[in-house]
Amino acid sequence: MKLGVLVKEGPYMHQAIETAYNFIVAAMEAGHEITGIFFYNDGVYNRCSTMEPPRDERNIMKLLSELELKGVRLIVCVAAGKRRGIINQTVCKVEEISGLGQLLELCIASDRMITF
């Protein structure tokens, strides 16, 4: 099945991105296709490249980049990212900066859309 993902919360503060990551790994193991992860609201902070969490904590930015290496599209909302300072080239690891239309495209292209 084709699954689209919307992430609305930032890293560390909320568990949302951790639940999303564990869900996506399980979905891919079960053979489902992830059509993309759209980062909106504080979700854009998940792509801040300068994160340095303590060694005994997961680096969320890197975990997401690993998903990208496995072919998952990571899409950061341009408006939410600009407002918060998270799409500047020197600051952040952003593969695809896009408008909110991409979120709707994900809804269209996916059998299920799930929000974290």
Partner: protein, 100 residues
């Protein structure tokens, strides 16, 4: 529909808002993150869950109850425990709506 509830029912209206939207017999509930606190026996939401489960299935996420120290024998009867694979299956079976 799959109603995913992820906030503590003691702290947030997410739980009480969500259960008002469980209308059909094919609606199911998945408690994740702080939402799992609803499953505790002897807690404030035991009766609400029992009432709900007369018609609708209620699931909770294994990783989240473990992290919060909720043991299996502390969970209201008939609430089903699933892992992330089970979570994926529920999303495949039902259209999800997240209550946060």
């Amino acid at each position: 529909m799959l109603h995913i509830i992820k906030k503590s029912p003691y702290e947030s209206s997410a739980f009480s808002d969500a259960i008002k939207y469980i209308g059909q017999n094919d609606d199911v509930v998945l408690l994740t993150e702080d939402g799992v606190y609803a499953v505790k026996k002897g807690g404030k939401f035991e009766d609400i869950l029992k009432n709900l489960m007369q018609k609708n299935a209620v699931y909770c996420l294994l990783a989240d109850i473990k992290a919060r120290g909720i043991q299996e024998d502390e969970i209201v009867e008939n609430v089903k425990i699933i892992d992330y694979q089970g979570f994926v299956e529920k999303v495949v079976e039902h259209n999800p709506m997240t209550w946060a």
